[in-house]
């Protein structure tokens, strides 16, 4: 393992210390390892927290700040955080207007957030939660843990965060977050595995001429292994299943998010973007907002995920609203 790591056991703690050193004007880190917006709690504002395993940076800690998250709970690498963190974060950001939990649909994340809700129910903080499950690679059926929360999470956190920032109440912020979830779909692929620091070696073996289609963000294998293909063919393998969901009709406005999984250069992401835009254009779907870059990653995995969100005026306006976090900043 060739990594800029001193000690695998200390990797998450040292990265958090670095985040505070770099972005102390936006965030603070509190026990038991939670990233909190520096000026939280803000009286009368709905608080929004999220959390998940580390290794997906900048998600979620990089999205804490004005117009997005009030706190993030980072777990060990690829391991959901513990209920103590979610309880502490909920208390740290409660300004009297309630707190929204944005939970990615993974068995561990869901169970830990559930335990946090049970353990904190004696407190008088109103809590709602939205489950993000946008990955079309997983069949949503009784026979799976349900679709995973992937790229759609970034858009949900930004858009719900904007609603909370402009003073919407908990029911409204929850409704808007749920609207993002209901209208967003994603699919990803990997060219390489990733290396969990504590394991010290790649999670899976993959040949030079192979790729994994339908990967998640934890190095879990995808739905199938395939022979490597040119970028445009790979893009079709990702976009077709999203469009087959039937969410997008000719004339619709779409948000296109082309995400890197951590080890893929922007040059390749733009090659991907070009092809997705072309495919959408040929179907009459207009891309009116976009995001290109590595925002929800899987450590050093090379690969990409494509996320499409059906936009309306409300979602577009909230995406455009000011945001100031370590990873996203505009409008101020």
């Amino acid at each position: 393992m060739k990594k800029l790591i001193n000690d695998p056991e200390r990797a998450v703690d040292e990265a958090l210390a670095g985040m505070v050193a770099a972005h102390g004007d936006l965030i603070r880190v509190e026990e038991p390892n939670i990233v909190v917006r520096r000026d939280a709690p803000r009286q009368g504002k709905v608080g929004i927290i999220s959390g998940g395993g580390s290794g997906h940076e900048p998600m979620h800690g990089g999205f804490v700040g004005l117009g997005m998250l009030d706190a993030a709970c980072p777990g060990a690498v690829f391991t959901s955080p513990v209920p103590d963190q979610m309880i502490a974060a909920t208390k740290a950001v409660d300004g009297g207007a309630g707190v929204l939990h944005i939970v990615k649909n993974y068995t561990g994340d869901v169970m830990n957030f559930e335990m946090a809700a049970e353990m904190a129910q004696t407190d008088s903080i109103e809590v709602s939660s939205v489950l993000i499950a946008d990955d079309v690679a997983v069949q949503d059926s009784l026979y799976t843990a349900g679709r995973r929360g992937v790229g759609g999470t970034v858009l949900a956190e930004k858009i719900a965060g904007a609603a909370a920032e402009e003073g919407a109440d908990l029911a409204t912020v929850t409704r808007i977050c749920q609207k993002v979830q209901d209208n967003v779909r994603s699919m990803g692929m990997a060219l390489t595995s990733c290396t969990v620091p504590a394991a010290g070696k790649p999670t899976f073996e993959i040949g030079d001429d192979e790729m994994e289609i339908g990967v998640g963000i934890h190095g879990e294998p995808g739905r199938r292994r395939a022979k490597l293909a040119p970028a445009d063919e790979i893009v079709q393998l990702l976009v077709d299943p999203i469009l087959e969901e039937g969410l997008f009709d000719s004339g619709d406005e779409a948000f296109l998010f082309v995400n890197g999984l951590g080890g893929t250069p922007l040059l390749e992401l733009y090659i991907v973007y070009r092809k997705v835009a072309e495919m959408l254009d040929s179907r009459g779907v207009r891309v009116t907002r976009n995001l290109v870059g590595s925002y929800i990653t899987s450590l050093d995995m090379a690969g990409t995920s494509i996320t499409l969100l059906k936009l309306d005026d409300e979602l577009t306006r909230l995406w455009d609203a000011p945001v100031h976090t370590p990873a996203l900043r505009w409008g101020m």
């Binding site: 060990a76 513990v82 561990g108 969990v196 190095g219 879990e220």
Partner: protein, 211 residues
């Protein structure tokens, strides 16, 4: 035959040792159909349990198990934190403040732990999870009456857990990250069922080593 807090202390210490020894194997199994951290997480959790064990006042088996469960919930995360945490918490709650626990009380506490795990994970039989190893182990203990030596009963439970673990290996997983793989998970041994089989082997060795 009574079970004491001291027995549970030895059980938890031995489980921590066994998990540390099997850390790489559990992680290897998890890399094939999960996210490759089961051994790492269980080891981190049981080491954290070891840290607090000396500080727990020692006369009640239930208190010890409850504290161990809380510690796992607070330190492991993932799916195994809430699941093993709930298992020990429910066992501890079932034992209450008894200082000497009868065999029947202990088996009933294991049943309570199993029910807690199934409820927390919403797992059904044959979903290819911890539950598939834990259920036959608890049933083996329940069907072994007092005429059967305790060590023999625990041996049957440990064997039943291994059989349960292996029985679901050919199946497709329906819970957790392994479920994302569909047919690709078939033929892979489940890491959670494996650590559960290790738990029942540890329980057997806790009492056999004593004798």
């Amino acid at each position: 035959m009574t079970i004491t807090a001291e027995d549970m202390r030895r059980f938890l210490m031995l489980f921590a040792t066994n998990v540390a020894e099997q850390r790489e194997e559990l992680t290897r199994l998890d890399s094939a159909i999960g996210d490759g951290d089961h051994g790492i997480n269980m080891d981190r959790g049981m080491k954290a349990v070891l840290e607090v064990l000396p500080g727990i006042d020692g006369s009640e088996a239930g208190t010890l198990l409850k504290q161990a469960g809380l510690r796992l919930v607070s330190t492991v995360g993932g799916a195994s934190g809430p699941l093993y945490g709930t298992f020990f918490l429910r066992m501890g709650t079932a034992l209450g403040d008894a200082t000497e626990v009868s065999r029947a009380q202990f088996v009933a506490a294991l049943r309570a732990g199993l029910e807690g795990v199934a409820a927390r994970g919403k797992a059904q039989p044959d979903d290819k999870t911890m539950v598939d190893a834990m259920t036959p182990a608890v049933e083996a203990l329940e069907s072994a009456d007092d005429s059967i030596d305790w060590a023999e009963a625990l041996t049957r439970a440990a064997d039943a857990a291994v059989t349960g673990r292996d029985r679901v290996t050919p199946l497709v997983a329906r819970k957790g990250r392994a479920s994302y793989l569909g047919e690709r998970a078939a033929g892979h041994q489940d890491p959670g069922a494996t650590s559960t089989a290790l738990l029942f082997a540890t329980l057997r060795d806790t009492f056999i080593d004593q004798a």
